[in-house]
Amino acid sequence: MRYWRKLGLLAPLALAGCSTDNMRLFHPVGLMGGLEYHYTMWITGIMLLIIVPTVLMTIIFPLRYHHSRNAKYTPDWHFSAVIEILAWAIPLGMVVVLAYMSVSAIYRIDPWTTPALADAPGASLPPVKVEVIATDWQWVFVYPDENIATIDDLVVPAGRRVQLTMTATEAMNGFYIPQVAPMVDAMPAMISKDAFEIDQPAEFTGFSTDFSGAGFSWMYFKTRILAQADYDAWVKSVQASQNQLTYDVFTQKIAQPQVNYGAVPSYFSAPNAGSLFGKVVMDAMMGKTYPVPDSLTKSVSSTEGEAPASPAAK
């Protein structure tokens, strides 16, 4: 049959699909990512039980009952109580199972309360708190307990829970580190939460997933999981930085719309780090915006490196 031959052309593609080396989500790290992967595989597997037979029937019936084959023909057969009951019952049963799995999964993985991390080795240790502020178009990570801050570099110790509290200054962004942490939006005038725990030193790239304007594509950041000792040393070195992040520096310089081409990290000591996040949220609620003029939107990436100057604060 010539139709079989044409379908055969698709076989190499299907094989290509089986190699998962290049697909991060098949290689989760840590409990949160692992849980997501676990449920993805189960949910997909259960559905394949009914999708695969249906696909086969959809392909086989047109060939089996092709007019040239003179197979059995029942032109007026249009109802069968058995098939109809099965046609409703099988999807219904599947949906019941999947809905149960989905609902129980969301109660386990909820990024606000993170029951999934309750059994992790780091559960007995105090979590590392990081406050995440998405600006147009950079990520600011504030460590309120360590009095430091970074731009586009999330550094955390291995073996401890990382508790992220997130907001944004102007546009809505999505915070996401594939393999590691669930995707949660960072939104102006609102506070959202995310969490993860990785037990071995490693490096990842996180990024924004929700479009936020012309500099969106450059909104990625390094995520470095360091051994506790290395982390402590790193915190000390940043605390000694001459570069200070205060509320004024934040509002007048860092939060002004700008593109960080190549996501080059910067590090700050931040004496009043504990109060910055709350002020940013309150500012947004009170109507503070960081306007993006048309001229800036038009000039982003026209010549990289010569980032357009930030407009004056309003």
Binding site: G17, F61, Y65, F79, D110, T209
Partner: protein, 688 residues
């Protein structure tokens, strides 16, 4: 009253200045050259062949549901092509702009589209494909086929039908002119808040998007009202609800969604308009505004809208699978229940579009489970199609190939959709290209359904079949292109690639992006075969039979091919669900009526076209804040509506002798089709 906006403003031209015309952008100049050439060729040939009067009388002024449907389809195809070119630009940009060392052209640091341009391209792609390609294509099909399937003369409100068309055209024109005057929205087709508010988006792009959606949404709402009324009131005698063909049933479900859902969009966009024009704070982050309100409102419309588009495609698949299996549709009553079920459940799933916004496990759990329920009626439909083919006598003509592919695509789109409805999976691939690939599977179901339907009903409308060989080439290249574009896209999504990136930092995506470009090239081939199919078929024009495929089942195959403008010489009496099959079984399919009665027909009118164009002028003026023009055109529309309400013309009556003559000799139909003759109403006109 007016909020302060960036840049100059003058009373005469509003925000419009010479700088709004992007004459320095080579891509847009090239586009303009092509558009201008196409425009000159079309207008020039109309003038050369002295067809101005014909176009005006027979098309622009027409209230014939078939002509309006054809114009909807032409609009949809043109927009489909423009949306496709947008897709080509996105795919090629992403194939070039990978990694810091990637080359830059035409003033972009990476690739050839700077973010300013790229973001407009994908926003336009989404808006055009859904609102100005898929919607008009399906509305057009409904317009042509629904009255024929129920044995009606026309839609219930022929005049309103034309108004709906021209309002939709006005919205499409607005999108097109934004290419050459100003800019289009960069805030995606959904309009991200608070990003689409003035602080982040002071230009006219969002206004173009907003008014285009607003005015075409008005047209869609009118059309939905029209469809419901037509189906409820104008079915042929004998056609009870369980003798209504499936495609008509899904149009009923769709129209109910249209009437109920579109006002939500209208309200949301009106609030956005107040924010942007008057300075209110409905959707801002601060000052007590709440952008989550917008997202909820948008998807309260947006998710039913998805089913608004996909249900007609399900109906098309049902008709075609049944016809080309030469067999009754399996499980007709459950098919209708499933359609109505999808339309109903579609209303309570909207929040799955923002699981990542942190609504908490209780709400997420509810919306996740509710979304999965959609899988039940959809699964039922797939099973019913499969069992329609079971023990059938199947002809794999082009429409059937499309329909089978649609079922397969639906299964792929279905399994990925069910994955996404589980929020735990959504947390990993939400806003990734996995989602993009998923909904493109569903949109390809719509696209495939439309191509199937165009091939299937073409002979009914135009009187000759489309070329089968080229149709198959078109089909296979289109399918190959889809596989090559969207399989890699699923893989890139599982790698975590975000949607809407004009630059990819992740160089490992390069092979996938190149594969997608190969897919786009194959798609280009399919466009070529599509055009070749149309041209070759037009050149050959081999007359088709009344029942063009030989296995037609419903009423539309009972009348002449091509359908005369009065549809049916006499209103048919319906005896069965598949009326034509019933008549064939009883040897009645060639039976001719013994007598003809006069037919009451609606008169053509140019008012809907003028109202549409004034609507375009009004919205264009609002985009640029040219208040005098907006006010004047709005006033003109109101005046025209008032004038129309005093119009005493109740249409004309086609005498019985004319119909008899036409039915005897089809060649005279084209003479009679000159509907410019307005005959007085009189005698015993057949009620409709």
């Amino acid at each position: 009253m007016q909020v302060a906006v960036d840049g100059p403003w003058s009373p005469l031209l509003g925000r419009l200045t010479l700088e709004a015309i992007p004459y320095t952008n080579p891509i847009l100049l090239f586009t303009f050259a092509i558009a201008a050439t196409a425009g000159i060729v079309v207008v020039g040939s109309v003038l050369y062949f002295r067809k101005v009067g014909y176009i005006w009388r027979e098309w622009l002024c027409s209230v014939d549901h078939k002509r309006i449907g054809v114009m909807y389809m032409i609009l949809g195809l043109v927009m489909l092509f423009r949306g496709f070119i947008d897709g080509v630009m996105m795919r090629t940009q992403q194939a070039i702009a990978i990694g810091p060392d990637s080359p830059g052209y035409l003033g972009a640091a990476h690739g050839y589209l700077p973010p300013y341009h790229f973001d407009q391209v994908y926003s336009a792609h989404g808006t055009l494909m859904l609102i100005f390609a898929a919607t008009p294509l399906l509305t057009g099909l409904g317009n042509i086929i629904v009255p024929l399937q129920i044995g009606a003369r026309d839609m219930a409100f022929p005049y309103l039908n034309a108004v709906s068309l021209w309002l939709t055209v006005a919205g499409a024109l607005l999108c097109m002119i934004s290419l050459f005057v100003g800019e289009f929205s960069n805030a995606t087709w959904v309009g991200l808040m608070p990003f689409a508010e003035l602080p982040s988006n002071p230009g006219v792009g969002v206004d173009y998007w907003m008014w285009a959606l607003q005015i075409s949404g008005l047209g869609t709402t009118f059309n939905a009202i029209n469809i419901i009324t037509t189906i409820v009131k104008m079915r042929a005698p004998g056609m009870g609800w369980f003798r209504v063909p499936v495609f008509t049933w899904v149009n009923m479900a769709t129209a109910i969604i249209g009437v109920t859902a579109f006002p939500v969009l209208t309200a949301a966009l009106a609030m956005l308009g107040l924010d942007r024009y008057v300075g209110t704070h409905f959707f801002s982050a601060g000052f007590g505004g709440n952008y989550m309100l917008y997202i909820n409102l948008f998807w309260t419309w947006g998710h039913p809208e998805v089913y608004f588009l996909v249900l007609p495609a399900f109906g098309l698949i049902s008709e075609i699978v049944s016809t080309f299996s030469a067999k009754s549709l399996f499980g007709y009553p459950t098919m209708i229940a499933a359609s109505m079920g999808i339309a109903g459940v579609g209303w309570v799933v909207w929040a799955h579009h923002f699981f990542t916004m942190g609504m908490g496990p209780n709400l997420i759990g509810f919306f996740s489970a509710a979304t999965m329920i959609v899988g039940i009626p959809t699964g039922v439909k797939a099973f019913n199609w499969v069992f329609t083919m079971f023990r059938g006598r199947i002809t794999l003509a082009t429409p059937m190939l499309w329909a089978i592919t649609c079922i397969l695509l639906l299964l792929v789109g279905g399994i990925t959709g069910m994955m996404l409805s589980a929020s735990v999976v959504d947390y990993t691939v939400h806003d990734s290209v996995f989602v993009v690939a998923h909904f493109h599977c569903m949109v390809l179901v719509i696209g495939g359904g439309v191509f199937a339907a165009v091939t299937y009903w073409w002979p009914k409308v135009f009187g000759f079949k489309l070329n089968e060989t080229l149709g198959q080439w078109f089909f296979w290249t289109f399918v190959a292109g889809s596989v090559l574009v969207f399989v890699p896209m699923f893989m890139a999504g599982l790698d975590g690639e975000t949607r809407r990136l004009d630059y990819l930092w992740d160089t490992s995506l390069r092979p996938l992006m190149l594969l997608e470009v190969v897919g786009i090239a194959v798609y280009f081939l399919s466009v070529f075969f599509f055009l070749a199919m149309i041209v070759v078929s037009l050149a050959k024009r081999e007359p088709a039979e009344q029942d063009a495929w030989g296995t037609g089942r419903s009423l539309e195959w009972l009348t002449q091919t091509p359908v005369p403008f009065y549809n049916f010489a006499v209103t048919p009496q319906v005896h069965a669900l598949d009326e034509l099959s019933w008549r064939k079984a009883n040897g009645l399919e060639k039976a001719q009526p013994s007598t003809y009665v006069p037919i009451h027909m609606p008169s053509s009118t140019g008012l809907p076209f003028i109202i549409g164009m004034l609507g375009f002028a009004c919205t264009f003026a609002l985009v640029w804040r040219i208040w005098w023009l907006a006010g004047a055109s709005l006033l003109a529309i109101i005046l025209l509506v008032i004038i129309r309400s005093f119009d005493k013309n109740e249409g004309y009556v086609l005498p019985a002798e004319t119909i008899a003559a036409a039915e005897r000799n089809l060649s005279t139909v084209s003479v009679i089709a000159e509907q410019s003759k307005v005959l007085p109403v009189g005698g015993h006109a057949e009620a409709h």
